[in-house]
């Protein structure tokens, strides 16, 4: 495979949404209701650009672009496009366009719509970056960005407790996986010798490596948390606390598919071993059935869809676990089919909720008359979910059954699981399609009417796409499935979809069986729901309650630790900190025999030739100023006077810096001195302490000893440092290169903003973080007072 380099436009695909996200709130303020339409142009443009790459990818090309990010750590922004990442990226940007449009209308008039659209676009950027990344560190970064942005999206309605809890839960669970991914990537880099997935894939798998088990476990944990596999599944249904556009995007086609993407991506590197297969197939199967059962238990339309998403994710993981070329083709087609119909269904359900005022399936009925377009869109999506011919869902089902016709008992069991799971999903789909829309009209909280065009465009276009893909199997197979499956498997896969109906094939009968069972599930839904609810009440606990128990014991534990270490007595902290400083200063000096150098030796003449050092008069004056400042601190009649006196000696130190050629340091010292005097004075007046310091003698003595020890320690350390020869290599380098390389003659500043700019970036972030923390503390005090 050739790897032609590419212009930077690919990087823009992942970075542009972030830019748009930053501008979204401003744009919303300027354009109001139109912001959704304008911002939808960003993902639409990305979609069109990606589509223009399709012919090349179909012809077997792969595209790669690498930009050094932090080369020292092997971190590159490298993007890689093959059939798999292109399919995902197309889905993300395509559905993303419709979702942005939909959000603008769904949350129209909401005060924070601009912020919402910003979060949404940032999330989209993270997701695009994730599927396009080649470098594992970049992939991890984007992976975590999806966690953070989805946290913001799920908790968007942050005044509600349930939304906050769901957001935290999703963040905690997916971050456990994120840490797994980071460690997994590092171990994989150590074992395989590269950060780049394309290099690792080309070099051959890691299946024989001694660390295979560790790498596999870490990556599987990462994928399972993100894709909500049993038993880490419970955050996904809770995430339905998010506004519906978020659910439609995150939980149908994007975020939860990140795990599926990761597993597909890792298939050539880690796949095709008995462990891989056993893990993925068993957990996938359990998740499939668990989600399907969960869906039957619900009456909230969004919850039903969420649970079927869970089931579909299980199904995809199961198929990846099987790993045959037919199963992988099934992964691709099922992913596309699921993304299309699930996003459409979520959007349609959101429209129902928006216009009728409720999502309870028992409280809805006969909406088809009032909302015919929504009904048609829902029906098309559900037909695809059922796998009726002429929809893309048909091929999804055919492919997955086809992969399991070999006849040994393991595939028979898997086949039964798939048929049962599909039948239950189909039954739930029928419920979603029939109950709210057909039958008797039921009075709803709002008078239902058709949703605005921006909210209908999504379901209609996605439904149409599902049908177009369903009646053009050659195009679908050749342009989407084959490149994707080839990318996963690393070997050429031939598409073989066709619409020919063969009555002799067992596939047709399996499909027919699935449909019959779906109808049976639909008929028996109400008694089944009652039974399931009774069962779950009988069980008494769920994964959710376990999560709560773990979180609460964690909070209790950290509370106990905090109470032990952090008891609120400032004096005691200071004693600990400064005793620690004294130890840190004297410990190494004693251990490394540092004092030997400081003792006067015979060669020095043993004090005989002691003479006044050659110091000018004004230098003496400054030293005198320091000493006066110090004495004034010690004899100060009040605390305020002591603070001011401390400022005097600080200013004198600044003068010393100035005289000895460090004007930058002097400047900073002076400003810090002024500010600290000002701030300390403010704090002091606030604290309303006694103006005098009444400490008992033993405290006074202890503090004095510690102060003298620290002061002496620092002085001795400085003398030691100065007695050695100074290694000037670095400063010589900086002096020599600062003007030619960084165009600045102030070396201190050049180091800060250029040579070590990355450190400075970290430092100012810390400064800002500290500022936020201080503000939080001050505000807390104020509300208490």
């Amino acid at each position: 495979m050739a790897l032609p380099s590419l212009d930077a436009s690919i990087a823009l695909v992942a970075l542009f949404p972030f830019l748009a996200a930053a501008l979204a709130p401003v744009l919303h303020r300027l354009t109001g209701a139109f912001s959704g339409w304008i911002l939808a142009l960003v993902p639409a443009g990305i979609f069109v650009f990606l589509l223009s790459l399709l012919p090349g990818i179909v012809a077997g090309e792969t595209l790669r672009l690498a930009i050094g990010w932090v080369p020292a750590y092997g971190l590159e922004l490298s993007f890689f496009i093959d059939g798999l990442s292109l399919t995902f990226a197309l889905t993300i940007s395509g559905i993303g366009t419709l979702i942005v449009l939909y959000s603008g209308s769904y949350l129209a008039g909401h005060a924070h719509l601009g912020r919402f659209l910003g979060f949404m676009l940032a999330f989209m950027g993270a997701m695009l970056g994730l599927v396009l990344s080649d470098n594992m560190l970049a992939l991890f970064t984007f992976w975590e960005l999806t966690s953070i942005t989805s946290f913001l999206l799920i908790g968007f309605d942050h005044q509600r407790m349930a939304a906050r809890r769901a957001a935290t839960q999703a963040l905690v669970i997916t971050n456990i996986g994120g840490m797994g991914l980071l460690v997994g990537a590092i171990v994989l880099q150590q074992a395989g010798g590269s950060w780049d997935l394309s290099v690792l894939r080309a070099a051959g798998g890691m299946q024989e490596h001694a660390l295979y088990g560790v790498i596999l476990a870490l990556f599987v944990v990462a994928a399972f948390t993100k894709s909500a596999q049993f038993p880490l599944h419970f955050w996904l249904p809770n995430a339905m606390e998010a506004p519906t556009p978020v659910s439609a995007f995150l939980h149908s086609a994007t975020m939860v598919q990140a795990g599926v993407y990761l597993l597909s991506r890792m298939t050539p590197i880690l796949g095709d071993t008995p462990v891989w297969m056993a893990l993925l197939v068993s957990f996938g199967a359990v998740t499939l059935l668990w989600g399907a059962i969960g869906a039957l238990r619900q009456t909230d339309l969004k919850q039903m869809l969420a649970q079927t998403t869970l089931a579909s994710l299980g199904l995809l993981v199961l198929l990846i676990g099987l790993g045959t070329s037919v199963a992988i083709t099934a992964v691709m087609v099922y992913f596309v089919a699921h993304a299309l119909y699930k996003a459409a269904l979520f959007m349609a359900v959101g429209a129902v909720d928006h216009e009728a005022g409720t999502r309870e399936i028992t409280a809805l009925g006969g909406l088809a008359e009032k909302m015919p377009v929504t009904f048609i869109a829902t029906a098309v999506a559900v037909l695809s979910m059922l796998g009726i011919p002429l929809t893309v869902g048909y091929f999804a089902k055919e492919e997955m059954y086809l992969g399991l016709l070999s006849g040994d008992w393991a595939s028979v069991v898997t086949l039964i699981v798939l048929v049962v799971g599909n039948a239950m999903l189909g039954g739930v789909g029928l419920l979603v399609m029939v109950k709210p829309f057909l039958g008797e009209a039921v009075p709803t909280p709002k008078t239902p009417h058709e949703a605005p065009i921006a909210m209908l465009a999504g379901p209609l276009l996605l439904g149409a796409a599902g049908i177009v893909a369903g009646i053009l199997p050659d195009w679908l197979g050749h342009d989407i499935l084959a490149p994707g499956a080839t990318a996963i498997l690393g070997e050429a896969v031939e598409p073989h979809l066709s619409l020919t109906i063969n009555f002799a094939s067992p596939l047709l009968w399996l499909s027919a069986l699935t449909w019959v069972l779906s109808i049976a599930v639909f008929r028996l839904a109400t008694p089944a729901r009652t039974l399931l609810r009774r069962l779950s009440h009988g069980l008494g606990w769920t994964a959710d309650t376990v999560f709560d128990a773990v979180m609460f014991s964690l909070i209790r534990f950290s509370g106990a630790v905090t109470r032990a270490l952090h008891h609120g007595q400032l004096e005691f902290y200071l004693v600990i900190v400064f005793s620690g400083l004294a130890l840190a200063l004297f410990g190494p000096m004693l251990a490394l025999d540092g004092f030997d150098w400081l003792w006067p030796t015979a060669e020095l003449g043993a004090w005989v030739g002691f003479s006044m050092p050659d110091v000018r008069l004004y230098e003496w004056a400054i030293f005198a100023l320091v000493v006066i400042g110090l004495v004034a601190v010690l004899i100060a009649p009040s605390r305020l006077a002591a603070i001011l006196a401390l400022g005097v000696q600080g200013a004198a130190v600044a003068l010393i810096f100035l005289l000895f050629g460090a004007p930058d340091l002097a400047f900073t010292q002076l400003m810090v001195e002024v500010l600290s005097v000002a701030v300390l004075t403010l704090v002091m007046t606030k604290l309303r302490l006694d103006i005098r310091d009444h400490r008992p003698f033993e405290d006074w003595g202890r503090d004095g000893v510690i102060a003298i020890l620290c002061g002496a320690g620092v002085s001795l350390m400085l003398m030691l440092v100065l007695s050695g020869t100074l290694d000037t290599r670095l400063s010589d380098l900086f002096t020599a290169t600062s003007v030619p390389m960084a165009h600045g003659s102030n070396i201190v500043n050049v180091i800060l903003v250029d040579y070590r700019g990355f450190d400075t970036l970290g430092e100012i972030s810390v400064v800002m973080g500290a500022g936020i923390a201080i503000m939080a503390l001050l505000r807390r005090r104020r509300t208490k007072a």
């Binding site: 003659s745 903003v753 800002m768 500022g771 201080i774 503000m775 001050l778």
Partner: protein
């Protein structure tokens, strides 16, 4: 502290300090100075302003919450590093442009924007802390 002399002189002092802080920040690459010191001076001027005219006046004059200014500083500094990606160089590689304005050549560079970011962070963070503290002591009087 609220003497007439102080209240009269404070605006002059504050204005001078602010201009000086910007001057110090911008000349920092070649002469002593830079964003950190500039930010400190500007923050100190805000503290003085607050003592003279009250925190409410400072907040009104600033228009933005100081912490927002600090946040913008972090963003600006980070963004100045991203610019280099567009010339396919590693993150935070400096870019220099020389604007020829007839008699003088004005250098514009990403480190300059980075330094302005540092200035904003230091200024924003310290002013927000100083103002919050002053607000508290005002409440006591």
């Amino acid at each position: 502290m609220n003497t007439l002399i102080f209240r009269t002189l404070a605006p002059l002092v504050v204005g001078t300090m602010l201009v000086f802080s910007i001057y110090v920040c911008l000349r920092g690459h070649n002469e002593p100075g830079g964003g950190f010191i500039g930010g400190l001076i500007a923050a100190a001027s805000m503290a003085v302003f607050g003592m003279a005219s009250g925190v409410a006046a400072v907040r009104k004059a600033l228009r933005f919450d100081p912490l927002t200014i600090a946040g913008a500083g972090v963003l600006l500094a980070g963004a100045s590093g991203i610019a280099s990606l567009f010339i396919e160089a590693p993150f935070m590689t400096s870019i220099w442009l020389y604007l020829n304005l007839g008699d003088t050549v004005l250098p514009i560079s990403t480190p300059m924007f980075f330094d302005i970011g540092v200035y904003l962070v230091v200024f924003g963070t310290l002013s927000s802390v100083a103002l919050a503290l002053e607000e508290e002591s005002e409440g006591d009087i």
